[in-house]
Symmetry: C2
């Protein structure tokens, strides 16, 4: 709880118009894409880095939690105020500070919406590759905090691969810069990459320096339909073995296809059991040849139909349909528990059949889609949370799924993070000495545990 | 000092044949590429990870320093036993454990020579891009510890970009695995990237899981000669602005050219003031077109001659000549202080003229070469260390160079690290609160400061 006195101090730091305790505001900022809800004591809208530093110093003194928040589009609860306290809404840090064409670098504030940055850099022929499905909502700061991936990661990598440096406020109130504004740099420990994916628990990200690349001149998208999901993911392994690296290689099973059928805008063969949404980009002639290679492999693997998105509009429609799968699966059941597992690419067929068996065993729909090129599969366990029997079933199914994934040398999360929703399972993947080390690292940053407490680790730290 | 009793215990852990206190061995393992020399008390050659864990536990108990060492090819003194103690020579950890063709992953022990790994993965059509100039000597573990870069970083990135996970022994003796064996993963803090570039101060790297990519099918190399160095680096900026991304884009000034003239094996125009060594790779037709674009830009920028390396043998000769620049500059003076600064690409011309002025000011040769595509320039201050006047001059010149680089928003080290040689300058780039945080992180890993003490930080920690 933030004391009345502390609230008055916050109001003095921020100005009274930049802090709110209104019920509506608390409700809005107390939930996120997980649909879980907690109530913060107040929401702050700082406009200057100095204010954030002052807030954190006050929080240390008074002992209240501070939870940094981008757009609240996170899927593991990273922005939820699980222990109350203050939400630090980064909404006002929304400026693109610089796009440096000759050095291929952008400097932005952390509250910039990722899609906006992409549009701006593309205007000058540059390219910011990471594109999480939430791209039109989520912020660069949130992407950095979670190390967001997205559709193009198979060719271009994830957020981590494009961050050169950060300006952050430490939980103790110190403002520091990490990393560089150059192509390379190895001076001191790599705090930049330690902060990437730290889910808002180590520092408040205020500024981000990003590496850009030249925009690919040519792009091709197509949908390939298969009869059954296992063959489909086997085709993915074959494509990757062929040494063609598509920009995106997305998988959707029948359940998902049904949920976005109308949005896809293409005719889908009746016998379709799963599909791949494939994009290639680069040099025009090369991309055409690679498209042919990919088509040939898919044919050999038994594809029943191909449909190319011939116009930019049709292509965007396809990708929009893909981005909407996550919300669309609610058509199947009112609630979902969404997993973000990754396995080695050549184990995907085993994983997909395993999920099918799990779904039959527990009698619950488990639509599967995801970044097949990375082996990163989103398994959605659909349920009605009001039904305690279904809750118990999903609980068991999640644990079984995770064990299977780890047995396949996979990992529990490829891009959504641990937050609170996966924290109970952390110990299945991370050994006790590694967790203890991480907690010591957390204490090195945040000795009083005021920044985003209750996240990542199963124990209270 | 390691006590006699501790030496007996070490001998019991390792077996008497795997520990040495012979003068020859101590001398050999007490120096590195910096040519500085310190004497360790003993050198251990562990053969099993359990032995390393036992050694570190003993070191904590007895309080002696342990210094992990790959090939000793580091340029900042990372492997030097500056406070004596035990050298942990990783020579016996030299196995390539797995090359997984279908998932594009390699698992290796940390003592594997990087060139050997490259050869092995290329046999199956895969590619491990990082290639530090020391590639035929240096080990993967050393490359990870320093976050080695190399010639191809401009297109393919540095060691960091290819490490998926690590097996390490913590200074406390715990063995942990970090990261993943999959394309993506964000479970817990990113200890993998924190360890990369930590210069052997946070943990002993024993195993490395690496990401591989398909081997490019076609490669072209050429040398382009210019009259003066400033135009040469301006051509680099222009090439990068054209959105062609060469594999390598290396710069050499006249001093460096003279030192490796015979090794280059090509005729060099008389009026040459500097050259670019350029490599492009990828699709055959595309690479040819890009080569033409690069040539055209260089012509426009005033290139006086081009020479392509038409055969594989000639190409290798060119790159070997480039790799040999670093030792070859000793022809100019008996000693050198080698800097590894990085500036934004469009500031390279300013940097090169500044170094020229510094060289004139202090009357010492300062040959310049490096990874111009990254803005990463190796400035070599040549001197005779027996001459105290020259030592003082170089000391002043280094500090002036660093200040200039930082004023240009550059960084003190792109790939060589801080070690001991750059530690006195750390505070020029890293602020006090950031250094204090790094030291707290160090203590979270190594509470008793037994692992590679005396490195990175100017103060004794």
């Amino acid at each position: 709880m933030i004391s009345k006195q502390a609230l008055r101090k916050l109001s003095r730091i921020l100005g009274p118009e930049a802090i709110s305790t209104c019920r509506d505001v608390l409700d809005h900022y107390g939930t996120d894409a997980t649909k879980l809800a907690y109530s913060p004591d107040a929401v702050a809208f700082p406009g200057h880095i100095r204010e954030i530093a002052d807030i954190l110093r006050l929080a240390n003194h008074e002992g209240f939690p501070v939870v940094p928040r981008g757009a609240g589009s996170g899927k593991s609860g990273g922005a939820l105020p699980v222990q109350g306290g203050l939400i630090l809404a980064m909404d006002r840090f929304d400026r693109i500070l610089e796009i440096d064409e000759s050095n291929h670098i952008a400097k932005v504030e952390s509250g910039v919406i990722t899609a906006r940055l992409q549009e701006e850099v593309e205007k000058v022929g540059l390219f910011y590759p990471p594109d999480p499905a939430s791209i039109h909502i989520s912020t660069i700061g949130g992407n950095v905090a979670e190390c967001a991936g997205g559709l193009r990661a198979v060719k271009y990598g994830v957020t981590r691969d494009y961050v050169l440096g950060l300006t952050v406020v430490l939980p103790t109130g110190n403002i520091i810069k990490t990393g560089v504004e150059t192509a390379k740099g190895v001076v001191g420990y790599d705090l930049t990459r330690l902060l990437i994916g730290s889910e808002g628990t180590l520092a408040v990200i205020v500024g981000v320096t990003l590496r850009l690349i030249p925009k690919p001149v040519f792009t091709r998208s197509m949908m390939v339909f298969f009869k059954d999901p296992c063959t489909t993911v086997k085709a993915v392994s074959e494509i990757m073995r062929s040494k063609v690296v598509p920009t995106a290689l997305e998988f959707m099973d029948r359940n998902c296809i049904e949920c976005v059928r109308n949005e896809i805008g293409l005719s889908i063969p009746k016998s379709t059991g799963a599909l791949l949404l494939i994009e290639l980009d680069g040099d025009r002639a090369l991309t055409r040849r690679e498209t042919d290679t990919v088509k040939e492999i898919c044919s050999q693997m038994g594809a029943i139909d191909f449909q190319a998105a011939s116009t930019k509009k049709k292509r965007e429609r396809l990708w929009e349909a893909r981005r909407n799968v996550s919300p669309a699966v609610y058509k199947l059941k009112p609630d979902k528990v969404s997993e973000d597992v990754v396995v080695p690419r050549n184990r995907m067929a085993d994983l997909v059949s395993y999920v099918n068996r799990l779904s039959q065993k527990y009698g619950l729909p488990m639509p599967v889609y995801g970044h097949a090129g990375d082996g990163n599969i989103h398994v959605n366990m659909m349920l009605d949370k009001k039904n305690p029997d279904e809750l118990t079933k999903v609980d068991k199914a999640v644990r079984e799924l995770f064990q299977k994934v780890l047995d396949m040398k996979g990992t529990l999360s490829g891009e959504h993070g641990i937050g609170i929703t996966k924290a109970p399972y952390l110990s299945m993947e991370i050994s006790k000495p590694a967790q203890e080390l991480m907690i010591r690292v957390k204490k090195a940053f945040d000795p009083n545990g005021i920044l985003n407490p209750g996240k990542i680790f199963p124990q209270r730290i």
